[in-house]
Amino acid sequence: MDPSTIRLETERLLLRPPAVEDFEAWARLAADEKTMRHLGGVQPRPIAWRNFAFTVGSWQLQGFSGFSVIERASGNWVGRVGPLQPEGWPGTEVGWTLASAFWGRGYAFEAATAAIDWAFDQLHWSEVIHCISADNLASVALATKLNSRKQRTATMPAPYEGVVVDVWGQSRDEWRARRNDRSAM
């Protein structure tokens, strides 16, 4: 199957693999200090392009990677959320990065919930993790809201060698038990 045809819809958002037209918004995010503070700092456009190509290539060859998140009402690209597991990564992550203009609306929670469902259902992962810097309080709050818990610390692989993160996460069984509770209410 061509993975670029995958579409996930939530109440306010569309999640789909990155398309060529997303790059300008992607590059703006990569240049935004506020957004990139916990992600290794701002990136010049040629680096942003390589990372964009890396994400597209991961979809092509691994069959999963970060989704582009689109605000359904406006059509705006608001960020990327989704599964990733590059070589040497500490586990099967569902991560999130939203442009700062779209913070504070619950979009990351809404998108991450759909992406975690998809990772467990379609990729058959048994666990999701989130690699979060200890001082990234917004992401710590989101991981907590997703009912993940801090499990361990990990040192990231190159090109992030030396970066230590907290590994948050939960098992598929934990996620599904809570999803069933919520939908039963």
Partner: protein, 184 residues
């Protein structure tokens, strides 16, 4: 936005887009200090993985990128060469980088001729360049065999901002006039 389904055959080589099974030889190539010297230096495996998937992604985004080069006689991946123009690049490059075991057999020239034909015919490029380090004499020899000449010296964009390269190249008209002559 899938990768295009392209396959080019030369006398001894197959050129095709990046495939998952290419990663192991790619990682070995990028870990080889001598082979990687002129393509940015040796990379640990997680970094090689990113470069590998960026190449696959470039195929999907742009419709072209460097081909994986397969040696027909062995079926082995021996390197990557072809059109390459990431954001900020100094021009429309056809570049080459082959694993050490595939050096000195004329493979870079053989593959690059096919890739340059494809770049001019299928992509409609009007010029090809080759970014070559001033001390990379083997690649300078390949560029000369292809009929390219040194045009200017420049810096590369990030993450290679510290690298100075000579830009070699030629126009489509120059290429086609030589190809026509050699056909007669």
């Amino acid at each position: 936005m899938p990768q295009p389904d392209i396959r080019i055959e030369t006398g001894r080589l197959i050129l095709r887009p990046t495939a998952p099974e290419d990663f192991e030889p790619w990682a070995a190539f990028m870990a080889d200090i001598e082979a990687s010297k002129f393509v940015g230096g040796p990379q640990p495996r997680p970094v090689a993985w990113r470069g590998f998937l960026s190449m696959a992604g470039a195929w999907a985004i742009q419709g072209y990128a460097m081909f994986s080069v397969i040696e027909k006689s062995s079926g082995c991946w021996i390197g990557r060469l072809g059109p390459w123009m990431p954001d900020g690049w100094p021009g429309t490059e056809v570049g080459w980088g082959l694993a050490r075991a595939a050096w000195s057999k004329g493979y870079a020239t053989e593959g690059s001729i096919a890739a340059i034909d494809w770049a001019f015919d299928a992509l409609g490029w009007s010029e090809v360049i080759h970014c070559i380090a001033p001390d990379n004499t083997p690649s300078q020899a390949v560029a000369r065999r292809l009929g390219s000449r040194p045009l200017r010296r420049t810096n590369l964009p990030a993450p290679f901002e510290a690298m100075v390269v000579d830009v070699w190249g030629q126009t489509r008209e120059e290429w086609h006039s030589r190809r026509t002559r050699s056909a007669t």
